[in-house]
Amino acid sequence: MTDSELKLTLAMVVLFLPLLAAVSIGLGARRWRGLSAGLSLGASAIAFVCSLILFIKFHGAPSGIVPATDAAFNGIQWLHLGDFKVDFAALIDPLSLLMLLIVTTVGTLVQVFSLAYMKTDAGYSRYFAGLSLFLFSMLGIVLASNLLLLFIFWELVGVSSYLLISHWFEKPAAADAGKKAFITNRIGDFGFLIGILFVWQLHGTLDIIALADMGAVTTTAGLLIFCGAMGKSAQFPLHVWLPDAMEGPTPVSALIHAATMVAAGVYMLCKLFFLFTADALVIISWVGGITALLAALMAIQQNDIKRILAYSTLSQLGYMVMAVGCAGPAASLFHLTTHAAFKALLFLGAGAVIYSCHHEQDIWKLGGLRKKLPLTYRAFVIGALALAGFPLMSGFFSKDAILAQAFVANQPLFYLGVVVALLTSFYMMRCVLVAFHGDARSEAAKEAHEAPGEMIGPLLILSALSIGLGWHYFGLSNFLIKVSGAVIPNEITHSAKLTAMIAGTAASLTGLFLGWMAYRGVKQDPLPAMLGALARGMRDKFYFDELYAGLNQWTQERLSHYAAWFDRWIIGGLAVRGTSGAVDLTGCLLRLVQSGNLQTYALLLALGLLVMLTFFLF
């Protein structure tokens, strides 16, 4: 079998096996819980193995987007409308191989974790079907070779996310959260679609390989495409759905809202990096930076352990987008990979804590778990340190890459990044201290015991990845620079790298220290007393939700007001009653002709004859 045939076969196996699992669960295997879980996990595991084989064998391909003969499968003909050609085809270049590996790894680990976490849930089979469907959609995004196919899988991912967030749909909060996620995503996708149309109009093709040769599109088109990433990766102002999405099961949060789906936006930005002009990139970087800062501020005052992690995800996504905007897709992808590992670890750790403490999620009601859940504690701490950018963790290397990029491209953003790094370590220290240290503050925390093996296993694997991914031994950083083909990294001088490293380390250590000072041994939050209204604002997410709700209501009211006016006066009055009135009036006038008087008729005859003759003879 030739190389490309092998590539294609493995890629198709990776893509379609989860779909097969989802469909079979949906169609019949639902009745048997063990079978459903087995199908889903088996599909995911086989996909993981195939991705691993693919990556090991083919990651050495040339840099950048590979020419058609090597990378893409010129697939099944789909839409051929004159000049417009869209096919079902797969683009298998090193970047997609890396992403495949990330998605399948985290996916498999999460499924193993869910075996124990969701054991008592009534919708067990439905859950695994949803997970498999999500895997299929996400892998579709990774492998899509043209923008239309990408968009279709984009939407599919949105649907899977909706299904999974509202898994416990009997809870109104969960159903609402699912709807909110879907609608906010849709708004972003609307911009994305218009951007795709722009690209088609400007370049005449939607094939990614062909587009790579054609260079950038206009700034407007680039920004519209960025709208899709704004929606999917929850950038400001479309960030409101991600915290609410924590209503879903914790493994779902780990998979979707930490490692994969929200990373799809960043992946798309990196893959289509060549479409953006310098102006678009500046705006993108600022949006990312603002998101990072805002989310970090909001995370400082959250009391639900999952919400803290959600805002942390938002903040890190902001970092990634900022890196892309500073013309550093390599740094962004590096952080994406390491973030997938340690954020999944953190979420699964939180899941273990929640499971052990009988679904108690408020950190102020936990405490003292250090002794009761030792393995979970250690895994969580590793994840927290990686997130905070503690030296020699994977997060340290990737965050430094981003800060170096920002220093070279856009200095104000560098300072912003440093401040956010400080805040990040501050709130992570707060979370760890309050949830795990001190004394148990509630019954649930007192009775906690270690989680079962299926949960601990993934935690351990992810801990190893969180520590090791950054090391040069793995060569991830160089691989990414080669793969993303960006030019800028060569310009990062040694002094810039050094500055970034020092600043980043200083920020993270300072944050950890401040957190330690503020939260060591406290029984309640000292910050609201110190900061007053600011703390309240942080806790209430800076009132964005209220703003949007109010905007919605105002718009609907205005629209309905005008629509009602239009309906009553123009349609009802002018068109309906006006027409009937006009007909009535004409009828009344014409009725006068039928007077019943013979002479009137004779007169009208004579008049008519006169008119006709005048018309014809003159």
Binding site: Q594, S595, G596, N597, L598, Q599, A602, A606
Partner: protein, 108 residues
């Protein structure tokens, strides 16, 4: 005196026709209206006879066709007058009036 040609007869016929129409439109007595109607008919016959007189012989029809038509017109007019007057008599018996203004029951 200029030579009396076709148009003189036609002018007379037109004037007579219009006089009849005037009578129909203005007079309100049914009988007089009917008589004006007959006047209009006569004007038409005059025109026909005038045309017939001035038509050259042609292979399509005899020049006397106009007179034949008048012949039939007079006959039919007689029949029509009979029936019309019978109607007027019946109407008079019903409504006791011959004023058209009082016979306007067919209005909307």
């Amino acid at each position: 005196m200029t030579h009396v040609g076709l148009e003189h007869y036609l002018v007379v016929s037109a004037a007579l026709f219009c006089l009849g129409l005037l009578g129909v439109v203005i007079r309100r007595n049914l009988i007089v209206m009917y008589m004006s109607l007959e006047l209009m008919l006569n004007a038409a016959t005059l025109a026909l006879v005038a045309f017939s007189h001035h038509q050259p012989p042609s292979p399509h029809g005899s020049p006397l066709d106009g007179q034949i038509m008048v012949f039939f017109i007079i006959t039919v007019a007689a029949a029509e007058v009979a029936v019309g007057l019978a109607l007027i008599v019946a109407l008079y018996r019903k409504r006791q009036t011959t004023d058209v203004a009082d016979l306007a029951s067919m209005k909307l």
